[in-house]
Each structure stands twice: as structure tokens, then as C-alpha cells.
């Protein structure tokens, strides 16, 4: 039965009083930090990471992380619904209907369907991880260097070309990350220092935590400081969180469909949760008996995407635990946390650290349950945290960012790096460079280099050593499809679609970015967030709309306005 018996063993690890306490603290802290506006789960984990430095037993530390992970995700959805402030791109879709529901006085129901949907999706997703991970790890053990290199290249290509709309900017972000990853002593036999400029503290490379906290926390704080809205946004209060019978009837199917949609997207190393949450929204709108409510606060539009988001987060644990491959910013920070403890996720992790893995999965289930029990009654209290004055919020983010970065190595050099990387994060936000590819580049870059050099060592420098396995060739074929899709789209799909739907505004732009999906003619213009126009690599990709124009679906295609 896959890993279910081991999972039961994991409960023995997790259900000790001290570990339950760690899970509880994790859930509370994760929710409290995740609820704060502008802080997504990735930043919540990065900021809370130093708290676990003092915990000697990695199992306990990871049990706390499990709590922080789901707590941060839940907190993020609360913020989205009450404040229309998605802490990460994956909860943007939740914010759309959720905030509309809240404005119609149904905040309690929106929070409840999000919480219960997250619980169901997280539980099913975690069980699926337990079922699938051992089998995938067994397969992954047989993978060689060329295969790993190919999968990492896939992750690079996917993170730059699927998520944002501007490939050039995504690629620039990835390269900035790869450059940061180059700093330090070469991992090969030569042992030479690269890009260290004779600074001894750089020889070990730049700590991933410093990079993550710098790009996310410091970059965000600087960016907001430069553009702080002087009057705070209107906040919606919530009563006791509950759902009527009709809400249950309308929610349970979207929860399950969202789970089914989110998990596979999270589990393939090309994902992220943006695409599946968006697909879930569209699906629920199509299947709903109340499609007219969409855009005005339909409960299905909260239940589906929120379940999708959590299932996708759980699915993301599969490549993380079995291949050591993070597919989202949150997973990347989790991987950094693993590395802090000298643990390298990969196919051998299940063999080498069974107590840790199964304890972690069991605590994810426990944390999820604690979250549900605790947060339904506590929601009004969390909502109060949204009132925190913005100067204190961002001063606090910088305060804890410095504390965490200093605590890693007790070195002021790390603080200087933190500041410089924060400035880079600011510039990236200013000019629309997505941050996630940079983080993935920092973490995967050095490992991709090791695998590439190992593969070429085996083939004695012959380039065929990079694609002499069936697996790697298959992965490269997938990459080719991703890279070439805009061209296919430009010359084959788009002309055909235009013949069918001459009005360019009446279509679903994200369909362009998704190979194999049928065109959704008749859908109103809608957008993947962070979309941009004018990038030549994506001239045919999604029409760029800022988030708030999603509520104005009848505006014409922005490209027609922007290019006189």
C-alpha cells in the first residue's frame, strides 16, 4: 500500500507531546505571519527559519515547518479574502471572488469554504504524496546525471516561460539567480573561487536564506516603502466563520475538483499553482448552476481555486522530496531549510531519513487538522492583525529579515549582501522582472552545473553525454514544445482562432500559454497576473492586464491601446 504503513509510523514520530507542541507553534506563527498583508508563505517560512536554528533535532524542526507551511498558506487566503491582497500569485484567483463575497457581507462563508477546502485538499494531497513518493523515489534512483540535468533545465524553462508573460524578463531574472549561485568555490575538482573578488566570506557562496530573505522581504519592503499608500485600504470585518447548508452543497464538488486539478500540476516539475488555480476558476464557472454570480462573489470561485492551491502545494512535495527539485518559491525556501540541516532531498532521502520524511508528512496532516480546528473560531482574531499600521509592518519585516540573515553565520557581510540583494529585488519589482525564477536559479543552478559536468565527465567531454538516455530525450522534447509553443501559436493556432472569433477581445488569453488546451472562445478577457505586453517572445501570449482590471472584463485588448 505505497507508503501508508510508513505514514502510520510517521505518526508515532509526530505524536509526541513536544512535537505536537512544535506543530501547534508552527501553525500559530505561520498563520499570524502569513495573515500579514504582503507576506506570502515563502516569505513567512524564510522569516521564521531562524527560529528553528535552535532546535537540534531536524525532525522537530521540520514538524514546526509543516505547521508554518500550511499556516502561512491559510493566512494568505484570509488576507486575500478580507483585504484583496494576495500574498503570492497562487492566491490571486481566490482573492477575486473571495473579496467580492466579503464585500457582500459573506466574508464568514468565504473564509469557511477556503479553510475547509484547504483542509480537504491538503489532506488528500498529503496522502497522495505518501502513496506516490516511495514509487517515484524508486524510479528516481535509476536516473543518472543527464536525466537530472534535463529535469533541471525543464524547471528553468518552465519557471521562466509558463508563469510570467514576458519571457525575456523571466529569463533575465533566472540569469541573475544563476549568477548569484556561481559565487563561491567551484564545486568541481579545480576548487577555484568564482566571483568572490577576494572576499573570504564569499568563498562558501551566498547563503540561500540571505538570497531568499533579500529578494522577498527586503526587496518587498523597499518597494512598498517607495510607494506606500497613505491611507490604508478598507478592511472588511468578519463574524463567526460558518457555512449554511446551501454553501456546503455548492462547495464540496469544487473542493474535490480543485484537489484533482491542483495535485498533478504541483507534482510535475513545471508547475506552480497559478495555472491550475486559474483553470479551476474557469471550470467552476462553466459548471456552476449560478454562473451569473461569478464576478460578484460566487462561493464556488473561492472553494475551487483555494482547494487547487493547497493540493498543488502538496503535489509540489513530490518532486521536492523525491528529486530535490523545487517548483515554487515556497518549495525553494523549504529546500533551503533542508540544506540548513545538511539534508539533501532526492531519491535517497526516503531511505536515509525515513523518520524525517514520514514524520514530516504525518505532521502536515496534523498541522492541517490543527489549522481547521483552531482557525474557524480564531478567524476574527487573525483579521485584527490586518489592522497593523503599515510603518510597523514593514519596519518589522526588515527587523526580522536582518535578524534572520545575521543569525545564519553571525556575519555582517551577510547583512551587506542582504541589502544589495534587496536592492536587486526592488529593481526587479520596479521593472516587472518576476522574483521566483531568480530563487529557483540560485538553488538549482549550482546543482545543475554539478550534474552537467558529471554527465560530461562520464562521456569524456562528448556532448552526447547530455542526452544519451531515453528519459533525458523525452524531457528535452517537452522543453522543445514549451519553447516553440509561441511560434506554433503564432503561425498555426492564432490565425485559425481569429477566423473563428474575429473579435480579439472575446477570448481567453491564458489558453495561449497552455499547450494542448482547447481555445476557450467566448470567455471574457481575463488575465494571468504579472502579465506584460510588448515582449517580442510573447507577442502572442496572454493579453496583459493588471489584476484590478479583471473586474472590468469588457475593456478592449490592451495591445490595441498601447501600440499606436
Amino acid at each position: 500500500m505505497g507508503g501508508l504503513s510508513e505514514l502510520v509510523g510517521g505518526f508515532y514520530t509526530a505524536v509526541t507531546p513536544i512535537n505536537l507542541l512544535y506543530a501547534l507553534i508552527g501553525v500559530l506563527l505561520g498563520t499570524a505571519i502569513g495573515v500579514l498583508p504582503g507576506i506570502g508563505p515563502a516569505m513567512a517560512i524564510a522569516l521564521l527559519l531562524p527560529l528553528t536554528y535552535g532546535i537540534d533535532d531536524p525532525v522537530s524542526a521540520f514538524i514546526m515547518f509543516a505547521g508554518i507551511y500550511y499556516g502561512g498558506m491559510y493566512g494568505g487566503s484570509t488576507t486575500s479574502i478580507l483585504l484583496n491582497t494576495p500574498g503570492e500569485s497562487a492566491s490571486i484567483v481566490t482573492a477575486i471572488e473571495g473579496n467580492k463575497m466579503a464585500k457582500r457581507g459573506r466574508a464568514a462563508q468565504a473564509l469557511a469554504t477556503a479553510a475547509i477546502g484547504s483542509f480537504i485538499a491538503g489532506t488528500i494531497g498529503t496522502l497522495l504524496v505518501a502513496l506516490l513518493a516511495p514509487g517515484i523515489a524508486r524510479l528516481a534512483v535509476q536516473l543518472g546525471s543527464p536525466d537530472y540535468f534535463a529535469v533541471m533545465v525543464l524547471a528553468f524553462v518552465a519557471v521562466t516561460s509558463i508563469l510570467g508573460a514576458s519571457r525575456v524578463r523571466g529569463f533575465a531574472s533566472l540569469l541573475i539567480g544563476l549568477t548569484i549561485g556561481l559565487v563561491g568555490i567551484d564545486l568541481g575538482v579545480s576548487g577555484q573561487q568564482r566571483l568572490t573578488f577576494g572576499i573570504p566570506q564569499l568563498a562558501d557562496g551566498i547563503d540561500v536564506i540571505v538570497v531568499a530573505v533579500g529578494l522577498f522581504a527586503v526587496g518587498e519592503a523597499l518597494w512598498v516603502a517607495a510607494h506606500l499608500r497613505r491611507q490604508t485600504a478598507s478592511l472588511i470585518s468578519t463574524g463567526r466563520v460558518r457555512m449554511e447548508r446551501a454553501d456546503w452543497a455548492r462547495s464540496w464538488k469544487p473542493w474535490l475538483r480543485g484537489t484533482a486539478l491542483g495535485f498533478p500540476f504541483g507534482a510535475v516539475p513545471a508547475g506552480g499553482a497559478e495555472l491550475p488555480t486559474f483553470l479551476s476558476y474557469v471550470t467552476e464557472k462553466k459548471l456552476s448552476k449560478h454562473p451569473e454570480e461569478f464576478g460578484h462573489g460566487a462561493i464556488e470561485g473561492v472553494a475551487g481555486p483555494e482547494a487547487t492551491n493547497n493540493a498543488s502545494a502538496a503535489g509540489g512535495l513530490v518532486p521536492l522530496l523525491t528529486l530535490g527539485l523545487p517548483t515554487t518559491a515556497t518549495a525553494a525556501v523549504l529546500l533551503a531549510a533542508f540544506q540548513q540541516y545538511g539534508i539533501q532531498p532526492g531519491p535517497r532521502l526516503l531511505e536515509n531519513e525515513p523518520k524525517l520524511v514520514w514524520g514530516l508528512l504525518a505532521s502536515l496532516l496534523i498541522g492541517n487538522a490543527i489549522l481547521l480546528v483552531l482557525n474557524l473560531p480564531l478567524a476574527p482574531m487573525w483579521a485584527k492583525l490586518l489592522h497593523i499600521p503599515r510603518p510597523y509592518l514593514y519596519a518589522g519585516i526588515l527587523f526580522f529579515a536582518c535578524l534572520g540573515a545575521y543569525a545564519v553565520n553571525a556575519s555582517t557581510v551577510d547583512l551587506i549582501l542582504l541589502f544589495l540583494i534587496g536592492v536587486v529585488g526592488f529593481v526587479m519589482r520596479r521593472y516587472g522582472l518576476p522574483v521566483v525564477p531568480a530563487i529557483i536559479g540560485v538553488i538549482l543552478g549550482p546543482r545543475a552545473e554539478v550534474q552537467m559536468r558529471r554527465a560530461l565527465q562520464i562521456s569524456d567531454g562528448d556532448l552526447s553525454g547530455l542526452f544519451n538516455t531515453t528519459f533525458s530525450v523525452t524531457v528535452y522534447a517537452v522543453i522543445a514544445v514549451l519553447v516553440l509553443w509561441p511560434l506554433v501559436n503564432r503561425f498555426v493556432v492564432r490565425p485559425r482562432r481569429q477566423r473563428r472569433a474575429p473579435d480579439g477581445a472575446e477570448r481567453w488569453p491564458a489558453a495561449d500559454a497552455l499547450p494542448g488546451e482547447p481555445a476557450q472562445d467566448g470567455e471574457r478577457v481575463w488575465s494571468v497576473p504579472e502579465a506584460r505586453t510588448g515582449d517580442d517572445a510573447t507577442v502572442d501570449a496572454p493579453a496583459a492586464r493588471p489584476l484590478d482590471s479583471a473586474s472590468l472584463p469588457d475593456e478592449p485588448d490592451p495591445r490595441q491601446q498601447e501600440k499606436p
Binding site: 504582503g38 514576458s166 525575456v168 533575465a172 566571483l195 527586503v218 517607495a226 519596519a395 519589482r429 516587472g432
Partner: protein, 168 residues
Amino acid sequence: MISRITRQGQDRSEFLVVLFLLALGVLVLVDAARLHSGVGQREPVGPQAVPFLVGGLLVVTAVLLARDILRGGHGEPEGGEDVDLSHGNDWQALLLLSAAFLANIALIERAGWPISGAVLFFGCAYALGSRHFVRDPIIALVLSIGTWYLFVLGLGIGLPVGILKGIL
């Protein structure tokens, strides 16, 4: 809607990103040029291969980005509920924030975290427009001393105590 407001005057400054990528690429290439394979070691791909690749791609990306901007492409500034993009950068807030940050770096090992952390928090809050001259320093000190005790006693992680040695 954000895009239309920020459209004016943005296009030229966007070339700063091009320059940044270009400079970074050249830096990586120059650094890679001085690397050499280990003496007497057989390694088909030396330590300079990936830096050459990354540096080269940085230069290529800079060129592609320049072409994109010339063709009318632009990067959308990141929005958010606390972010008001209708006016330009608030340079005063940014400079004050940076000053607070750098003060912390300068002070942390001399004056200790309880002092430098408080300076950091108070400075940032001030930079962001908070003007409570009694409440803010109290919050700042409670936070910095509280985290010092939490880390040193609770978590066993050393933070510099500085001039308050013997008092805390």
C-alpha cells in the same frame, strides 16, 4: 490601469535594466576568463564553462531586452494593496530606510543587537511615516531586547550584546 498611469517617462529608465544585465554579464565573463582547469586534473568541463555560458546569456538577454523595450514592451511594476503606483518613487523614504539598514550593519557588532535592532526598527518606522516619538522607541526596544533574549536564552543562538554587556 496601472500600466497607463506609469507609462509616461518609464521607457527610458527601463534601459537601466539592460545596462545592469550587460554589466553583470561582462563581469561574469571577465571573472570566468581568469579561471583555469586544475593542474594535472582531467576534467572535460572546467570551472569556467558555466560562467562563460551564464555571462554570454546575460549579454544576449540584455540585447533582447533592449530590442523588446525599443519595440514598445515594458515591465509592469508590481502592484499590491499597500502599493500606490500613481506617484513616482518616494526617494526620501527609500534613503531613510537604507540609512536605518546601514546603521544596523555598522552598529550591530559595536553597540550590540539590542541597540542596533532598535535603531533599525525605529528608523524604518520613521522612514515609513510613523511619528509617534514615545510609542515607536518603546516598541523598537521591546522588540530588539525581546528577540535578543529569545535567541540567546531560548534558542541558544548568539547575538552580539555589545555595550549592554553585563546589563542584559
